[in-house]
Symmetry: none
Subunit: 304 residues, 2 copies
DNA sequence: GAAATTTTGTAATATTCTCTTCAGCAATGT
DNA sequence: ACATTGCTGAAGAGAATATTACAAAATTTC
């Protein structure tokens, strides 16, 4: 069993700072673990003893032992047949003008795969718990683009619990919501690179008021990571001047899935039924068309 | 220039024992160099000072410096997209309550792959042309969830052309925009299943006014497909009571990529520069950490 | 074949890294 | 509110590692 799997599916329960280490390690696997223990600790924003303790928790004699294992992994992977193929990979550099969209989709796919392998299950579980265990309000905030993701998550969460509040565009007035927030509340903030000053500032103010913070960011970490309780990272780089948001969307959906899974069976069933009903209600609209003819579809549409 | 090439094509003359080291290093590259200097020396049958001297001869400050370079090489090779795919998938099927989030991510990944292979390039090209060739206004509309995707696309398009208008929540008032629309205008509508009556109705009214329609929907086709000029479908089913929007997001991003590719070179470059500048502005925040040491990162984060 | 030069290893030193101890802190239960 | 438990980081001891200094081989040169 290689180290990556130990981290992803390991049966050991991790403390928050240990989790941060794991996240760093997975995001930049295995290079992040091949330096010194102290460098890894700094990157994760924890102290070196914590790194050492994690190594031991994983069953190693100490950090160097873990490192040796990591090295073995590298070796194995570098000699894998896949890497041989890699050598003759077509140069992605040429946008080729023609298949730009297709090339882009491929690039997103590999991005998603990266996301898949770089976030441990525990992070999702923690996020789910954080959201559902919060007694007070849950406030959502995002940047220029990511505010749409915040909106999506808000729309989902509305169905699971009350007191959801999405701050769409950050204005001076909106900052006022802060006065009502305290340590029983949760701020879910999305901040991918080109970290927006106003968003960071808002989060900082919230942190000062002891509001708990759940941060979604990229592997380079928004400054907000400094004072967030839990940080979920997600790769965003693709061959385009813009970054992709597809993986981020998948990620919040995954959190939703995790919330659903951890719910009481009855509660979950009620929600599933609810969706089922909504689906049927709309399906009746155009089912006929799909199964039979086109005419009924138009008919049903003109009826209301 | 990576270390391997330095060793292979280096212009420096090597002493016999140095050559032995190089040989070992190349035989097991780069793993052999990632341990301690002493371990490498032993494998080559020489003493450790010889190893250190070689490192310096190659232009490094010392052995650790060479090691850092070696690590960078590994990272570059390991981060190639293809290799990310290799990270094997755990057994699906077992929803297991535990790994709900992970299972979900896998399911999204395969969904995306499906999207990848089921939409021809021509569709993206036509969508791109449709958007950019429209002389009049471009109005965007979505449903309960998909309106966020509409919002994203609107945010992107704003940078490419004027007269972009996102109808966020559909109200009676908003329907009024219809009176200003005609056959020179374009309606981009997102309508995934649980096709919303109001959205369909709006599209229908637009169609009646001869507004051109670009529809994003799922493979079961929204009724709007009946009167849209171009329909892009995208699979949305995953193992969850909800549908995924990740692929849809990827899809609109792909359209953006296609638009960028089909633009005049100069125009595109200007936009890319713009993004580049935005990126650097924020990157300067924490770049130091990634390229050099850990210290500056923490410093920069606390500094503002 | 001896001196000069280069190469190499041993030993001592300097540096860096790991890991233990301990005390502070927050969360949780009584 | 108080005690308990577990998590965390600061500090420093101790170990491992890299590097320097120097002397012994080996090689070359005359």
């Amino acid at each position: 069993m290689n180290v990556r799997d130990m981290l992803l599916h390991g049966a050991i329960s991790l403390t928050p700072s240990e989790e941060r280490i794991v996240q760093v390690l997975l995001t930049d696997y295995p290079a992040a673990g091949l330096g010194t223990a102290t460098s890894l600790a700094k990157r994760a924003g924890v102290s070196d003893p914590t790194v050492v303790r994690l190594a031991m928790k994983l069953g190693f004699e100490g950090f160097p032992a873990l490192q040796r294992r990591l090295l073995a992994d590298v070796e194995a992977r570098l000699h894998s047949p896949l890497l041989m193929m890699e050598a003759k990979r077509p140069d992605m550099g040429t946008h080729s003008e023609q298949g730009a969209a297709i090339a882009y989709m491929h690039s997103v796919a590999s991005n998603l795969n990266k996301a898949l392998t770089s976030t441990p299950l525990a992070s999702y579980q923690r996020a789910a718990r954080l959201v559902m265990d919060t007694k007070g309000k849950v406030v959502l905030l995002g940047g220029r683009y990511s505010r749409f993701i915040a909106g999506m998550l808000a729309a989902y969460l509305l169905q699971f619990r009350p007191d959801i509040m999405h701050i769409d565009a950050l204005s001076a007035q909106k900052t006022d919501v802060l006065v009502d927030l305290g340590k029983r509340d949760l701020l879910i903030v999305f901040d991918y690179r080109r970290y927006q000053l106003d968003v960071v500032a808002f989060a900082q103010l919230a942190a000062a008021r002891r509001v708990r913070i759940l941060l979604f960011t990229d592997p380079w970490l928004s400054p907000i990571a400094e004072f967030s309780e839990l940080t979920l990272t997600c790769p965003i780089e693709v061959n385009s001047p813009y970054d992709t948001m597809a993986s981020s969307v998948a990620q919040i959906e995954a959190v939703i899935a995790q919330i659903l899974a951890s719910m009481e069976k009855r509660t979950r069933e009620r929600i599933e039924e609810l969706e089922e009903i909504r689906l049927q209600a709309s399906a009746s609209l155009d089912n006929a068309r799909l199964l039979e003819e086109e005419k009924p579809a138009l008919a049903s549409m003109t009826t209301k």
